[in-house]
């Protein structure tokens, strides 16, 4: 994957607001709000270190980030962008992970409520709340209400987010599943996961590595085999483990 160069404009005018997204809505919103714009793919590629070495601390004054979701992006995709954003901030802000920023997700009108729920779950929230540092809005919302929602968000840093996620029951259960215990331990962990996600198993996708939906399907199949059938599925015998499909929750802790 080709790394992304820091836009020249950021060197002369460090952005206070960053808009991540593509398409006419993202461009228009960036124009109206005066935000710097970065395509989601560029964000995911990571930042390239200049040849002369040293990364300029151009995100030191970043206060707000807006993710403009496209219709094709899933909750898992958006959360991947969210993680990538923090990698940029860690590298390009002198405050690193302690940098506080307010984040707004602008979702397509056509997207279902489940996208919002999945996103909130991935961020360790029951539902979006401005006090949590992250809020969600819809593209159809009037600009005034969008900006008002934006202004209400309390900036937070990465340790706060990580701590919130660490205390989330869903993650705790999935973390157990990732552990390479014996079959009995896995069965117990699988039961716990299924109990937590009962009726909303689709949300497991947000905790899976890309391709998230395919890995989510494998995980759901595995869980059902272990809990419902009470037998070790073939995939397990072949050496496949939930840890192959789930993201590493302890990556930076």
């Amino acid at each position: 994957m080709v790394l992304t160069l820091i836009p020249d404009a950021w060197l002369s005018t460090p952005p206070q607001t960053l808009l991540v997204g593509d398409g006419p809505y993202a461009s228009a919103l960036a124009f109206v709000t005066g935000a710097a714009i970065l395509a989601a793919d560029d964000l995911l590629s990571g930042v390239e270190e200049p040849q002369e070495g040293g990364l300029p601390q151009v995100l030191g004054s970043l206060q707000r980030v807006v993710f403009v979701a496209s219709a094709s992006q899933s909750g898992a995709d958006l959360l991947r962008c969210h993680r990538a954003l923090w990698r940029w901030i860690e590298k390009l802000s002198p405050e690193g992970e302690q940098h506080e920023v307010a984040i707004l997700f602008v979702l397509p009108d056509s997207s279902s409520a489940s996208l919002e729920e999945s996103l909130a779950l991935g961020l360790g929230l029951k539902k979006f709340d401005p006090a949590s540092g992250t809020e969600a809005a819809r593209m159809g919302d009037p600009l005034e209400s969008l900006l008002a929602a934006w202004a209400m968000i309390c900036p937070t840093d990465l340790p706060t987010l990580r701590a919130r996620q660490a205390s989330d029951a869903a993650r705790a259960a999935l973390r157990k599943l990732r552990c390479q215990g014996g079959a009995a331990v896995n069965r117990e962990a699988a039961r716990e996961v299924l109990a937590i996600f009962a009726g909303r198993e689709y949300q497991l996708d947000v905790f899976c590595r890309p391709p998230s939906h395919r890995h989510g399907n494998l995980l759901r199949g595995w869980l059902r085999s272990v809990v419902t059938d009470g037998v070790t599925p073939d995939s397990y015998k072949e050496g496949c483990r939930p840890s192959d499909w789930l993201v590493d929750f302890d990556e930076k802790r």
């Binding site: 070495g53 405050e95 701590a163």
Partner: protein, 427 residues
């Protein structure tokens, strides 16, 4: 009484009151009057840590378990380090009651929680300025617990006093005057810095892979402190004094009047406090810092073989040299060789001949027979080091003493420099 800014982070209100009173008593013994601020939760502690960058606390007394389900004192420690908002931290633990720690640190069952906690704490804050102290267990009767706590806070005050005497070693080093050496893309070589004016004084601080150098003010502070009598008490505030008192009284002309002075003042060097000889040497050192690259790029420019990025770099160097750019150009014209392919050796010889080589003249004053011997000042320095380490070990901070020793070994013990007139010291 000497002032001391103390922040106490403790969620237990009763213990907080006791800590406040006991800290006052402990520091009063050493002649300090603490200005105490208290915080009772993680969120406020982190907010304060982030906002105290400009006015850092001398000591932060930090409880590990602050009653938050997910964030702990270790997260506050992260903020204190990142924002440099504490000089020293006393991390108070009550391992037997810290039930949240095993979850937040990801400790496996059966692991030694104390060991884990120390490892996590030292990974978050410079070990030579971090004291990990256990609070008396809750099972101990209140009277006895108070005595124990008073003893431990007394130890903290003592260590603060002793280590504070050497605070100048750990002052934040300004690296803005250093330039990173460009390295080829993909190279795994450790980053280093081009040595600048500090090399002129031959002070070398080697902290792991990053080589940093104190500026001239740091050197003067160091020199001032080392020349003081051992028995005289040095407060942290005094230790941070940039100039000896005698020099402080000297009238300083306005830097605006002299662009060269303004240039060096902007880099934190008290230009008008230097002797004329020192000023000349500093100019040469500053010039030679960027001169090689300037000369190379000017050569490309003369040959009309300069790329846009190289031209931009040349312009940047000229801007950075400021009032010294003219001198650089004169030197370039003078040194311009007829044969550009001359060997590196020839080039160095030419530079040295023209007195532009870094620190070239400094070695002249150093007698070969003195190398490897301690001067009285160096001996004094070592004696102070020993005293601090002994104090730490005697008070049960053996691991901190070891960190301290390792740190000093990697910095002070490798010193080899030529001090200013009147003082000779080599190790």
């Amino acid at each position: 009484m000497k002032p001391l800014r103390l922040l106490i982070v403790e969620d237990d209100a009763k213990l907080l009151d006791r800590l406040e009173a006991l800290y006052r008593a402990a520091f009063a013994v050493h002649g300090y009057e603490p200005l105490i601020q208290t915080v009772t939760n993680v969120a406020d502690a982190r907010r304060i840590a982030k906002s105290a960058r400009e006015t850092p606390y001398d000591l932060v007394s930090l409880d590990v378990n602050l009653g938050d389900a997910s964030l702990t004192g270790l997260d506050v420690l992260d903020s204190l380090k990142r924002f440099r908002s504490a000089w020293m931290v006393a991390l108070l633990t009550g391992v037997e009651t810290d039930t949240t720690l095993d979850r937040t640190m990801g400790v496996e069952k059966g692991e030694d929680l104390r060991k884990q906690l120390r490892r996590h704490a030292y990974a978050r804050f410079p070990a030579e300025r971090l004291l990990v102290v256990e609070k008396p267990a809750p099972a101990i009767p209140l009277g006895e617990a108070n005595t124990l706590l008073a003893n431990r806070l007394g130890q903290i005050a003592l260590v603060y006093e002793e280590v504070g005497r050497l605070r100048y070693i750990f002052r934040p080093i300004d690296v803005t005057s250093l330039e990173r050496v460009p390295q080829p893309k993909g190279s795994k070589a450790p980053r280093s810095f081009i040595e600048t004016t500090a090399l002129h004084w031959q002070i070398r601080f080697n902290c792991g892979e990053i080589r940093t150098l104190p500026n001239l003010s740091g050197f003067k502070t160091l020199h001032y402190l080392l020349s003081r009598d051992r028995s005289a008490s040095v407060t942290p505030e005094e230790a941070l004094a940039i100039e000896p008192k005698a020099e402080k009284t000297r009238a300083k002309p306005s830097p605006e009047a002299d662009p060269v002075a303004a240039y060096f003042d902007a880099q934190g060097i008290a230009w008008h406090d230097l002797t004329q000889d020192e000023q000349e040497k500093l100019i040469r050192a500053a010039l030679s810092l960027k001169f090689n690259r300037y000369r190379e790029l000017r050569g490309f420019q003369d040959e009309e073989d300069i790329s846009t990025s190289e031209e931009a770099e040349l312009n940047r160097i000229v801007r950075e040299l400021g009032p010294l750019a003219e001198a650089a150009e004169t030197a370039y014209q003078r040194l311009r060789p007829s044969d550009r392919e001359s060997s590196v050796q020839d080039e160095s010889a030419t530079l040295a001949q023209n007195d532009l080589h870094l620190g070239g003249a400094n070695y002249d004053t150093l007698g070969e027979n003195r190398r490897g011997k301690d001067s009285p000042v160096a001996a004094l320095f070592r004696a102070r080091m020993k005293r601090v380490k002994d104090c730490l070990r005697e008070n049960g901070f053996a691991d901190m003493a070891q960190h301290f020793e390792d740190y000093v070994m990697s910095t002070g013990a490798n010193w080899s420099y030529n001090p200013p007139e009147g003082v000779e010291w080599t190790t």
